[in-house]
């Protein structure tokens, strides 16, 4: 039962982001790409927040977000993209998929912790 699912193909990012959130008192699960993320989210619907990369092998983060809504029928989970991408078209696609927000890397944990706790139902 995790509060936050971190989805990134880079173990460096998973460790950096997940490690920070765990040290901040949040429970974290991990997925290595969008396909894995969908599977983990289907297995644990209690997840409140997904922090997700965009460019990943097998399934990208925006496709995953769309499938969370259309295939898993999960409209409750908050999704935040954490990516190097900043293209307006991608953000529009994310908005259409119902994502909550967008962060351009590098990850600044202290700057977003309070919001993440709120989105994860821990505040």
């Amino acid at each position: 039962m995790a509060q936050i699912l971190v989805v990134d193909d880079s173990s460096t990012v998973r460790n950096e982001v997940g490690g920070f959130l765990q040290r901040s008192g949040l429970s974290v699960a991990y997925a290595v790409d969008g396909k894995d993320g969908l599977s983990k989210l289907a297995a644990d619907p209690s997840v409140k927040l997904v922090v997700c990369d965009v460019n990943m092998p097998n399934m990208d983060g925006l496709t995953m977000a769309e499938k969370v809504r259309s295939e898993l029928r999960n409209s409750a989970v908050n999704i935040v993209m954490l990516t190097t991408e900043n293209a307006p078209a991608m953000k529009e696609r994310g908005k259409a998929a119902g994502i909550k927000g967008w962060i351009v890397k590098p990850f600044n944990g202290p700057a977003v912790l309070a919001t993440f706790k709120k989105l994860a139902g821990a505040a």
């Binding site: 460096t12 190097t84 967008w102 890397k105 590098p106 977003v112």
Partner: protein
């Protein structure tokens, strides 16, 4: 055809991204100087990423030395002996991703519909083949982490339509790390 202004702008973007990706052990931005050719050490690998649109393909490569001392210098929080080669390669891929991501965001101000690849790690001996293909602009750079360690980086542009733009780092105020709410 690519203008001199566009070539210089691409170089400035790349150097800017390298300087914002690599830091000295003291936390200062690494010095980046142009070199005639990348000459990576034997056994080195390189992270290759590509930005592409309908009209161009931009390839970037970062040549990384083997783990060990390099890991301790590039990833100060980690223990070089324990992290292992996989962790080092992943760390280097993420550095490449960050570096290419910055260039992608800046070039996206001038060209719509760009797409960026995920990082690929290959043997650095493949480096010379980057410029064996038709290209309009190629430059090589050396990033000095400290007296013991440097990283070579290469940039190669192939365009299929005229390219002309002007970019300066000073004019950009990029915001990163902050959550943009929808």
């Amino acid at each position: 055809m690519i203008s001199a202004s566009a070539c210089a702008s691409l170089d400035r973007m790349f150097v800017h991204s390298l300087q914002n990706t690599f830091f000295t052990p003291e936390g200062e931005r690494a010095a980046v100087t142009q070199v005639a050719q990348s000459l990576p050490d034997a056994g080195a690998q390189m992270v290759v990423l590509m930005i592409a649109s309908h009209t161009f393909r931009l390839v970037m490569a970062l040549h990384f030395p083997q783990a060990g001392e390099a890991l301790r210098l590039l990833v100060p929080d980690s223990d070089g002996g324990d992290a292992g080669p996989h962790a080092f390669r992943d760390q280097m891929s993420e550095r490449g991703n960050m570096c290419c991501g910055m260039v992608n965001r800046e070039i996206g101000r001038f060209f719509a519909h760009t797409g960026m690849s995920t990082p690929h790690i290959i043997d650095s001996r493949s480096g010379p083949f980057m410029t064996a293909l038709p290209h309009a602009h190629a430059t090589h750079w050396r990033v000095a982490i400290d007296a013991r360690l440097h990283i070579d980086a290469s940039l190669c542009m192939h365009n299929r339509a005229p390219m002309d733009f002007e970019w300066h780092a000073d004019a950009q105020q990029e915001v990163t790390g902050e959550l943009e709410f929808f």
